[in-house]
């Protein structure tokens, strides 16, 4: 039966042992895409969904109308935050390997997105991250020790041990609680933005999902509600080419860019070089201005590559070429920003190495502090009685009874 099958099955351009091939990736020349006025109607700028906004060229020179006008200091700060994110990821990944935390997910190769976007948004804007947006937390100044403590489920854990590692939140920082369920945050962001508009405030919302997650219902709901009510929201798709083992074609990316998904609803889409911090910053600012000024939602597709495994539970060598990242035409976002700063005369290899080493120290110090609040195996532990809190505002009698049962049982034990 299968032999005569006429079903089209999307296939990645290369599998393990094959030569990486990114010829499918439609690139525009850096600087080539014009920057339309922020209030241009969606129907006039559909081309932005298919082209690619790029600022940095291969030599690290900024090109064209989308240059965000960031000062060298701002760029250095962005670089610092990207390095910090990468060092944080690296350490946490290794701590999982050493059994100190149960699970981890890196954002290796995708740092420019969270850092660039975080910088382009205002602190009153509400962010609805996915699990690969640790950079947003770092950019907004969440203490590393708090992020680490969450991963450790220790006594300082903001989630009180209730979530797996990386499912952070930061209420004061306007960073929403990350969910293990893909894409559920998308309609939340739209609803939040609707409420902001209803209240007449000018805070906007932004949400992130991966390429694979666009197939979920919540993606559709969010786009529909955002379009209908012209909600002030930025909807981001991070197309890192992979969703665990399936390449972006399995999510429908073979024929059209993800940025085009909202065009049929009148939502402008813009495709950006996700490894180019300047371009990411610029399109985010553009979309934020649209949202804030009543021009409604924007869908941004960030083209990037998942540099690491999906998570610590994953082994990508089973399904993609080992050297695929090296062949990715948009390179490494850290290297590209570094090169740009060197190019404009505001950076050096030495400064870079020093900054990186400094970030590493910061991470190490934070880790030391974090484990003082307990690890999975040692040190202080959260009070088990708290396991029954926060299910409801007031803990109902039935749960109080269950808590008593558990405590009695532990009493008997000890």
């Amino acid at each position: 039966m299968a032999s005569k099958s006429r079903l089209h099955i999307p296939r990645p351009s290369a599998r393990p042992g094959e030569v990486p091939d990114f010829s499918y990736l439609a690139l525009s020349e850096p600087g080539a895409v014009a920057r339309p006025a922020c209030d241009t109607p969606a129907s006039k700028i559909e081309h932005l969904a298919h082209e690619m906004v790029r600022v940095l060229d291969d030599d690290g020179v900024a090109q064209g109308e989308w240059q965000p006008g960031l000062s060298p200091e701002q760029l250095q700060d962005a670089l610092r935050l990207m390095l910090l994110t990468r060092q944080f990821d690296d350490r946490m990944h290794r701590m999982q390997r050493q059994g100190k935390i149960s699970f981890y997910m890196q954002s290796l190769g995708e740092e420019a997105i969270s850092i660039g976007q975080g910088m382009a948004l205002k602190s009153g804007d509400m962010l609805f991250p996915s699990y690969r947006n640790q950079g947003l937390f770092i950019q907004r100044g969440t203490q590393l020790v708090d992020l680490m403590s969450q991963c450790l489920s220790n006594t300082r854990d903001m989630c009180k041990g209730r979530q797996m590692p990386v499912m952070y939140h930061n209420k004061a920082g306007n960073l929403f609680s990350i969910s293990g369920n893909l894409a559920t945050q998308y309609p939340h962001a739209v609803g939040w933005a609707m409420a902001s508009a209803i209240k007449g405030e000018d805070h906007i919302a932004a949400a992130w999902v991966g390429d694979g997650s666009t197939s979920e219902a919540d993606f559709h709901y969010a786009l529909t509600f955002a379009a209908v009510y012209h909600a002030p929201v930025i909807l981001n798709v991070i197309n890192n080419q992979w969703a665990i083992s399936t390449f972006q074609g399995i999510a429908g990316g073979e024929r059209r860019a993800f940025a085009a998904r909202g065009l049929g609803l009148g939502i402008p889409g813009i495709r950006v070089d996700g490894n180019d911090l300047l371009a990411v910053h610029a399109v985010t600012q553009w979309a934020a201005q649209r949202a804030r000024e009543g021009d409604g939602p924007t869908l941004i597709e960030h083209v990037t590559y998942r540099g690491g495994p999906h998570s610590t539970s994953d082994d990508p060598s089973r399904y993609r070429p080992k050297d695929e990242w090296q062949a990715f035409p948009l390179g490494d976002p850290v290297k590209r920003l570094k090169q740009h700063l060197i190019n404009i005369g505001h950076w050096s290899d030495e400064q870079h190495a020093a900054l990186d080493a400094e970030q590493k120290e910061i991470v190490i110090a934070a880790w030391k502090e974090a484990i003082s609040f307990g690890t999975m195996t040692d040190g202080p532990r959260l009070d088990v009685a708290e396991m029954f809190d926060d299910v409801y505002v007031e803990t109902p009698p039935s749960l109080i009874r269950q808590r008593q049962q558990l405590l009695a049982l532990k009493g008997v034990k000890s």
């Binding site: 509400m126 009180k160 209730r162 559920t184 609803g191 919540d218």
Partner: protein
């Protein structure tokens, strides 16, 4: 005090909370200009504007998902799902997000969404306009589940639900929207004006969630029920002349175990009645709990009278519906067991 049917009482509850609290907003299919297919939101858009009573796309998951976000941003959304049979596309947002947001964020985030939805059969709605899916919600930790049996309770409970910072699924037994239906479909419909539960204060009042009502005291057997079945049970008891205590749960979660316990420990016999399918219905939990709490007082097996374990069939609505005869048969079983 006015005579109200349940639709008017719900409308009045919405009106009262919207009047009192400018953050209350309504979202749902056809709820705005039209006032809802059952007219529960009639007049509210005219009164409070189209920014507070919002017609939504036909996307139950989107309604609930966006309501969560609206709630996180400080408003207090009341979402209408047109029929409980259509709540399923919203289940993931309810189960994975709404119910667990407070818990997973250690109390930092929450969304005080109330989901109103008509449930139950008896309106010739066939399998897709008759379901009572409450047991899918009562199993979830973090959601409250409510089902009133009279206009008076509907208003007071709905106000509490909206004001609660916990998410609430509020089931409205649509067969008793217009009158206290006792299960006999051959009798002419009776309006709420003939029933004390149809007397409803015009102003604001609330009934706490988690408190059952003893509809009628008695000592021969305890009947635990809710929604439409409260009236069916009353009629059956009246016909049989049995001295039953009838408990209307009103809130399924939190469950008022104390009231159940007190009653069954007194009567020693227990019948549970609901319209939903029997297998793994809410009655299962009630039976399990009652035997746990009252085992030594029980003089007979706890009996469940419920919908059959089939979809709700259009042609056999009244054979499916657990009407007076089935309740009476159940009562006989419980009373005669020895």
């Amino acid at each position: 005090m006015s005579q109200m049917n349940m639709i008017q009482a719900i409308n009045s509850a919405l009106d009262a909370t919207m009047e009192k609290d400018p953050t209350v907003i309504i979202l749902g299919e056809d709820v705005g200009y039209f006032g809802g297919v059952f007219r529960c939101t009639d007049g509210l858009q005219a009164k409070y504007g189209e920014h507070r009573v919002i017609d939504a796309p036909i996307a139950e998951g989107g309604i609930i998902g966006s309501a969560i976000g609206i709630g996180v941003n400080g408003l207090r959304p009341v979402a209408e799902i047109q029929f409980a049979d259509y709540i399923y596309p919203g289940l993931d947002q309810i189960i994975s997000e709404l119910a667990r947001l407070r818990y997973r964020s250690a109390g930092e985030f929450f969304s005080p969404v109330t989901i109103r939805t008509p449930c139950g059969g008896g309106i010739r709605g066939g399998q897709t306009h008759s379901q009572s899916p409450e047991a899918l919600f009562t199993h979830l930790s973090g959601i409250k589940t409510v089902m009133p049996s009279s206009p008076y309770d509907a208003k007071g409970l709905l106000i509490s639900a909206i004001e609660s910072d916990d998410p609430v699924v509020f089931f409205e037994p649509k067969r008793i929207y217009n009158g206290p239906f006792d299960g006999d479909s051959n009798k002419p419909a009776v309006p709420w004006s003939t029933h004390p539960g149809g007397e409803v204060p015009d102003s604001y009042y609330s009934i706490p969630l988690g408190e059952a009502a003893i509809v009628q005291a008695g000592d021969e057997l305890s009947i635990i029920t809710y929604g439409t079945m409260v009236h069916v049970a009353q009629a059956a008891v009246r016909t049989m002349g049995v001295n039953a205590e009838i408990i209307d749960l009103r809130s399924l979660v939190p469950l008022d175990i104390e009231t159940l316990k007190r009653s069954v420990n007194k009567t020693g016999r227990c019948l549970i009645a609901h319209e939903a399918s029997k297998f793994c219905g809410f009655g299962a939990e009630l039976a399990a709990t009652v035997q746990e709490e009252c085992f030594w007082h029980l003089e007979a097996p706890i009996e469940r009278v419920a919908g059959w374990d089939t979809p709700y069939p259009h042609a056999f609505e009244w054979e499916y519906f657990p009407g007076q005869e089935r309740v009476m048969a159940g009562i006989r079983n419980v009373m005669e067991a020895a």
